[in-house]
């Protein structure tokens, strides 16, 4: 029975007894109720009993039973509290020792905790879907793509077509099979300021399959998988931001524009639902969801693969069975491609990439914590020597061994808790710094936080390690030979071999070597990466990427439309020579013209911005967008000998702005404006293009770009210049044949770049204004330093290098401190010996050499233990390295030498001190 006064019974010292008393009360109470005495009377009785029990309990407080276990509070008050007070008093007397130990521990815990908080948020927390373990993604496998370097990356993770989806759906092994595909960007028309929306096409079962709830409205219906529909779902964030979070949004009609598409792209849509907050899938955060059925009919017809499959397995389905079934079903599906399919658990799909790197860093942080703890253990052992006398006195006065150990454990626990608390504080700060340098695309990195789980981790790590590492010192102390120590008096007892401490420092040096090797491998990787020639100079270049949201034939405010309007009127009047055919040619021409005109106007304005040295544009940029990959046939070669080349569309000053060197010939100029009747387009080719296809010089050479795979429709190209090779997306890219066409040939620039001498970012507002002044339909989607984009491509490597260097550096520092402490103590122990030696004629340098030799032995031992460990650990990093292999001898030689030098520095001071030993003082002692 729950009673508000039950606590009174708990005043009894034994909680078991209190329970028995409450049981008695309850039993008696129920007897009273059963015997139909008055309920009120029973209540009053119960309360009075409790009050009396409280009074009695307080009265016999000072009379505990010896047999019954003492309450926790008593243990704390009578045993732990004095121990705690004692520990704090000791620390006050030896602040340097306490501070070093606690700070070392805090440092180790902070590193481990900070990385753990990231590992926890990114890898350990369950994915936000319903039962994520039964979710899988199914990739199309296209073996023939493997041979082509451009498609090789996706050969076994390709999209699939409608027939594949149809083939997978009926399988009883799958609970449900949904499809989705990124649908690019769009705009909501009629807003004051055009803003881009990320769009996602999904099947009707996609959201229910994942278990994503809706805030408002309904999911797409199954019908909408197959027939065109104007329904859309909007994300919670879009709802809040653009529709003020009003519930009446359901049923509202909006006009969606499609970014950069053909005419008539105004699509009226009806909002049918609002997603729950924070929806994210495979790194995409769509603003608008449309039914995949929008173009289902077309897709069925063309069998083109654009869908991605996510499926939920039935509870009884084993993953291997499902993988086999998926592969078989896809192979048998009513389509040529893909050949077969590959099934990947969604957890692996989403977290597989960062997992290796993060676990590795976590391992590194763990090692650092280990070094920190070893260091603290060394400190404690050293402290134990100092305390031998005190412990011996206590033992002589009747302190039992258990009592001594308890005192020490309390002290260590207090140390661990203090260290962990400080560590959490440091970790809070470190996490912010780590996230700032974390590579993009780490899923859920925004949810990283120092929460209860993380704090618990810190405390468990701190307590666990310190208790483990505190046991040896505690036992050493507890085993103090009382009589001998007391007989020694207050003096230190002779030369001790300090075996335990030497072992610890050897371990520290070995661990530090492992961490330093990792730091070296990752550091060399980033150095090699960043010293790769890019082929252009990103510094001082600002890139504004744009999307044209207007309709190209629509009411553009640009000039190029006038002749078209005229022609249209003539056509309508039936007076246009050539009729419709002429009109089509003119539309084509005007499309090109408007694009070029727009580009010209933007460039004019950009060049006029103060601070801009050179302005240029292109349709694809290194590290910003993929160039077209096109087939070319070199003149004089057979028509079926097609070569792959990359095609960039650039403005005249692109090479200047990028500082891509022109190796021969010339760049584009106004003379490259297409003339009517001229069939040849001037091009600038890359050095690799020349090397491969025109080994005797490319300028003047001719080749064809096979348009649409049809040799008859080829576009003829004439080489006017050769430019240096550039990297495309990664600094590790190999050289590929590439060529540049002038924007005059019809490709409007979508990236605008300006070169300046100062910080390019200060130009952003002026650039935005310049672009907006030309036409509001040209929307800037991103502005960035080109150097930032290049840097971003090596963020993973930079992240690993930075963290591993910090860990390695900290470990080396800790090892050096540990060695310093040990050597200092050893030297202090031997100062009588040194005094005698000097008195007998040894030179101070000889004594110093003795100390250094002592240290060298320990360092050598540490390296001997550490090298195989470092070698083994290095092999794990293999796949994350570039330009350095985990078994190259120079890595280990260099790290070992570095570590040895730092360690020797740590022994210089004790050695100097020892060499100055005063023989008279030493002998007098």
């Amino acid at each position: 029975m729950r009673h508000p006064l039950n606590w009174l019974a708990r005043l009894r010292r034994s909680s078991q007894e209190a329970q028995a008393l409450l049981g008695d009360l309850e039993e008696d109470y129920s007897n009273r109720v059963r015997d139909r005495r008055s309920w009120l009377g029973a209540q009053v009785w119960y309360a009075r009993e409790l009050l009396t029990a409280g009074v009695f309990a307080m009265l016999d407080k000072r009379e505990p039973t010896p047999s019954a276990a003492q309450s926790r509070r008593t243990i704390f008050r009578l045993r732990l509290l004095p121990d705690l007070r004692y520990a704090v008093r000791r620390w006050r007397r030896r602040p340097a020792f306490a501070a070093t130990a606690i700070l070392t521990l805090a440092l180790g815990i902070a590193a481990a905790t900070a990385i753990f908080s990231i590992v926890d948020a990114v890898l350990l927390r369950p994915l936000p879907w319903h039962d994520p373990d039964s979710l899988v993604v199914i990739h199309g496998v296209y073996p023939e793509r493997r041979s082509n370097p451009a498609t090789a990356a996706t050969w076994n993770r390709g999209d699939v077509s409608y027939p594949v989806w149809d083939a997978l759906r009926p399988s009883p092994l799958f609970h449900d099979v949904g499809v989705w595909r990124p649908a690019g960007q769009g705009t909501i028309l009629g807003e004051d300021r055009t803003q881009l929306l990320e769009k996602l096409d999904v099947s009707s079962n996609f959201l229910p399959l994942l278990g994503v709830p809706l805030t408002l409205g309904r999911y797409f219906s199954e019908r909408e998988d197959n027939v065109p529909s104007d329904s859309i779902l909007i994300s919670y964030e879009t709802w809040q931001k653009r529709f003020d979070g009003r519930p009446q949004v359901i049923g509202e009609r909006v006009s969606l524009g499609r970014a950069s598409s053909g005419p008539n792209d105004r699509q009226p849509k009806t909002i049918v639902g609002v997603l729950s907050a924070g929806f994210e899938f495979q790194g995409l955060r769509p603003d608008v969801l449309e039914p995949v059925g929008l173009s289902a009919a077309a897709n069925r017809k063309y069998f083109s693969g654009s869908l991605r499959v996510v499926a939920r397995l039935e509870s009884f389905t084993r993953i291997e069975t499902a993988a086999l079934a998926a592969a078989t079903l896809v192979a048998a599906a009513d389509t040529r491609e893909p050949t077969t399919a590959r099934l990947v658990p969604i957890v692996e799909e989403q977290l597989g990439g960062p997992a290796q790197s993060l676990w590795l860093l976590f391992g590194g942080a763990g090692l650092l914590l280990l070094v920190a703890c070893t260091n603290v253990a060394g400190l404690l052992l050293g402290e134990a020597r100092v305390r031998r006398h005190e412990i011996a006195v206590r033992a002589a006065l009747g302190g039992t061994r258990a009592r001594v150990v308890r005192q020490l454990l309390v002290e260590h626990t207090l140390m661990a808790v203090t260290g962990a608390a400080l560590g959490v504080l440091f970790a809070r700060w470190m996490v912010g710094a780590i996230i700032a340098i974390a590579p993009e695309g780490l899923p859920r990195i925004d949810t990283v936080a120092i929460d209860l789980r993380v704090v618990a981790f810190a405390f468990v790590a701190g307590l666990g390690t310190l208790l483990v590492f505190g046991i040896a010192p505690a036992l050493t102390l507890a085993r103090t030979p009382v009589a001998r120590v007391l007989a020694e008096g207050s003096r230190d007892g002779g030369v001790s071999r300090l075996l335990g401490q030497r072992f610890i420092v050897v371990a520290e040096i070995a661990l530090a070597l492992v961490l330093l090797t990792g730091a070296h491998l990752f550091g060399e990787t980033i150095l090699r990466l960043t010293s790769q020639p890019l082929g252009f100079s990103p510094d001082g270049v600002l890139v504004a990427s744009t999307t044209f949201t207007g309709s190209r034939t629509g009411e553009s405010r640009l000039g190029g439309m006038a002749p078209l309007r005229e022609a249209q009127q003539l056509l309508q009047a039936g007076r246009l020579p050539g009729g419709g055919a002429t009109m089509r040619v003119m539309i084509d021409q005007s499309l090109r013209d408007t694009g070029r005109l727009r580009t010209d106007r933007v460039l004019e304005r950009l060049a006029a911005v103060p601070g801009v040295d050179i302005a240029a544009g292109s349709n694809a940029m290194p590290f910003l967008g993929n160039p077209f990959r096109v087939p070319v046939v070199i003149d004089g070669r057979p028509a079926d000998e097609r070569q792959d080349a990359l095609q960039y569309g650039v403005t005249d000053r692109y090479f200047d702005a990028m500082r891509i060197p022109l190796l021969s010939g010339r760049a584009f100029g106004p003379e490259d404006t297409p003339r009517p009747g001229s069939a040849e387009q001037p091009v600038v080719v890359s050095a690799e293009f020349e090397r491969r296809f025109f080994p005797h010089g490319a300028v003047g050479g001719k080749y064809r770009y096979v348009y649409g795979g049809n040799f008859e429709l080829s576009v003829h190209h004439r080489v006017i210049g050769v430019a240096g090779d550039v990297k495309r997306q990664e600094v590790t890219d190999d050289e590929r044949p590439a060529y540049y066409v002038s924007y005059r040939q019809g490709s409007a620039a979508s990236h605008f770049l300006v070169r300046t001498t100062g910080d390019p970012m200060v130009l952003v507002p002026a650039i935005r204004k310049a672009v907006a002044d030309v036409t509001p339909e040209l929307v800037i989607t991103a502005t960035d330093r080109l150097s930032t984009r290049v840097e971003r491509s090596v963020m993973d490597e930079r992240f690993r290098a930075t963290l591993s260097s910090l860990f390695g550096g900290a470990a080396v520092l800790l090892a050096a401190v540990g060695l310093y402490g040990l050597i200092t103590r050893r030297a202090a122990d031997r100062r009588r010996e040194f005094g005698v030696r000097i008195a007998l004629g040894a030179r101070p340098a000889d004594v110093g050499r003795l100390v250094v030799r002592d240290a060298l032995l320990i360092i050598t031992l540490g390296l001997i233990v550490g090298l195989p460990a470092a070698y083994a650990a290095a092999q794990v990093t293999q796949s994350l390295l570039f330009g350095v292999t985990p078994s190259s001898p120079h890595v280990f030689a260099l790290t070992a030498v570095t570590l040895a030098i730092v360690a020797l520095f740590a022994t210089l001071l004790p050695a100097r001190r020892a060499s100055r030993a005063n023989p008279i003082l030493a002998l007098k002692e």
Partner: protein
């Protein structure tokens, strides 16, 4: 924590009554039954708090010992504290009873 084992031989009146109740109840002595016996035999409404404190004192003196019973539903899932007399308890009870008898011998007006 020091406990000074004093005046173990002296038995208070309530202590004596409880020891007698224990002797009477045998195996089934715990809070509720002890209390019922006291009410039944003496008509005295004693509180559980008093009983527990007295038992604790007796346990201290080594006159009774206790064990924990099984939890029961009627007790709200709580265990009983089962109490029995120790050999020393029986001796003490016998002695103090004898002392009372000796003291009351020949005193007039005690017997009805």
């Amino acid at each position: 924590v020091q406990y000074i084992d004093a005046v173990a031989d002296y038995l208070g009146e309530f202590e004596q009554l409880i020891l007698l109740a224990l002797a009477r109840l045998g195996e089934d002595a715990y809070g509720v039954t002890i209390r019922e016996t006291l009410i039944e035999r003496t008509g005295r409404q004693s509180s559980f708090g008093a009983i527990y404190s007295t038992l604790r004192r007796l346990e201290h003196k080594g006159l009774v010992e206790s064990a924990w019973g099984e939890p029961e539903a009627v007790r709200g899932g709580r265990a009983k504290k089962l109490v029995t007399l120790t050999a020393r308890g029986k001796t003490a009870l016998r002695e103090s009873h004898a002392a009372v008898m000796r003291m009351s011998e020949g005193v007039s007006g005690l017997k009805r």
